[in-house]
Symmetry: C2
Subunit: 280 residues, 2 copies
């Protein structure tokens, strides 16, 4: 059947998965418009209460292939051998660790240095970070030196540094093109911003994304399943397509964190359903 012989073959064929995972994830590598499909991933924080093995079991069950690596799964001080073992374990579940973070680095320049060294040793080209504003020029220089992109994360109205994507963009727009945004569409909306418009507005600088929905567009809003919140996900996916977003859309499910699989799976299904119609 036609449907099976195009995009679905990729998911169903184990070899296909691993071949795909060996491709580097770089914004420069534009997918042709007609075949555009956003990548679905998971932000490691969704699994804060689970060890790596149990997290990977969930990812495998959902057939999600991209993980943003948190240090509770791969400590900063890991040896090269431990890092190799980590990647091997991910590959066995059909998963690629595509970035590290979010990493807080609000105390010293040494934390920034360590983060770049860690990312280099892990072998990813993207750090999600929360730095001091005064260190941004330093980070911009490091990003160019290492050839590693750095995306700042916005965390909503409680975040005195980066409540929304505009607050980040205004600070980075004249820095290296390797400095960008990890667009938390939920916290952005919790701060009263329009996450569909901001996705388009800052598309050139959005390197990563925390895919989620929220119960209300205010500080009281909580993460909810992708299908059940106030952000218009179909409009969001149409915008992903129109900007040809090349990063990963990583689910960060800050609900039922002791038993997140059902909500993550419902959210993954919803995203795929919207994508299958918007990006046929």
């Amino acid at each position: 059947m036609k449907y099976m012989n195009n995009r679905r073959t990729f998911v169903k064929n184990g070899l296909g998965v691993f071949a795909a995972l060996s491709l580097p994830i770089l914004p420069a590598e534009a997918t042709p418009a007609s075949n555009y499909r956003p990548k679905l991933g998971v932000a490691g924080y969704s699994f804060v209460n689970f060890n790596l093995d149990d997290s990977l079991k969930m990812m495998k069950r959902m057939q999600i292939q991209y993980l943003c690596i948190k240090d509770f799964h791969l400590p900063f001080k890991s040896t090269d051998a431990e890092i190799a073992e980590f990647h091997k374990k991910l590959a066995e579940s059909g998963v690629k660790g595509y970035a590290v973070g979010p990493i807080y680095m609000t105390k010293s320049l040494e934390e920034i240095d360590n983060a770049f060294e860690y990312a280099k040793r892990v072998g990813v080209d993207l750090i999600i970070g929360i730095p001091r504003k005064e260190d941004l020029a330093y980070i911009s220089k490091k990003a160019d030196e290492y050839g590693i992109r750095y995306a700042l994360h916005n965390h909503g109205p409680e975040d005195k540094l980066y409540p929304n994507s505009t607050s980040i963009y205004d600070l980075i727009k004249n820095l290296s093109p390797k400095i960008g945004i990890c667009f938390d569409m939920g916290h952005n909306a919790r701060d009263g911003q329009d996450s569909v418009k901001d996705l388009k507005r800052y598309s050139s600088r959005i390197f990563d994304m925390h895919l989620k929905n929220i119960t209300e567009a205010s500080a009281a809003g909580k993460t909810t399943e992708l299908s059940r919140g106030v952000i218009d996900i179909p409009a969001f996916v149409k915008t992903l397509k129109s900007i040809q977003y090349q990063g990963v859309c990583s689910l960060e499910f800050e609900k039922d964190m002791n038993d997140p699989l059902a909500g993550l799976a419902e959210s993954a299904g919803y995203f795929r359903g919207v994508v299958d119609v918007v990006c046929p």
Copy 2:
């Protein structure tokens, strides 16, 4: 936000759920075309390994509001008091039991009589059944007498009676309009049929549906998450809309039956995602 103030309010507002559930589910009651949205349910068989309480916990978590009742959750010999208690329990989880079955009745007319009495006492207007072909005229008469519809279930290439929807339609097309099909789109495709075309072709007689996908369009095909199979679900949902299907689309997830929540949730999410784009 616009998005929240229309269709989502229904899901989020507990009173809204119960108000909606008090509406009868009848094909005559056409939803206006512009607001068309198919109803999502679960076929009780998905919970064959779970008692009613645990099944309802899963339904509540997925916010699925329609259940096709299997006798392992509500035995045929239940008293009226037990039936009342059953409905009360469902309502507490925001769930409506909208039909009974599938019920096998291949041995005697008494089984048919019992099924109609059971449906009447349960208070539903729809029986899903597997009868003998020679009893169809009898069933047609009973359906008219009771004012209860009767939908025959197709069960794929292994089913000597009703392998696909065509085999049912050809037998019932001249019977009472209360005799129809519980369209198992997966088993229909396993029998080599085109489930999107058959949905359209037999739309006047499709009263209920087992929503699923399958790994391949042959006898070897197995149930899989809605997003992962060979049936083109976006095309299927577009057809639901074009025929203005008024029944329930009930997930029957014959995979991971000892731990079905993740697959059911992913499937529910996928369906909602497709529907949100196709039926905005």
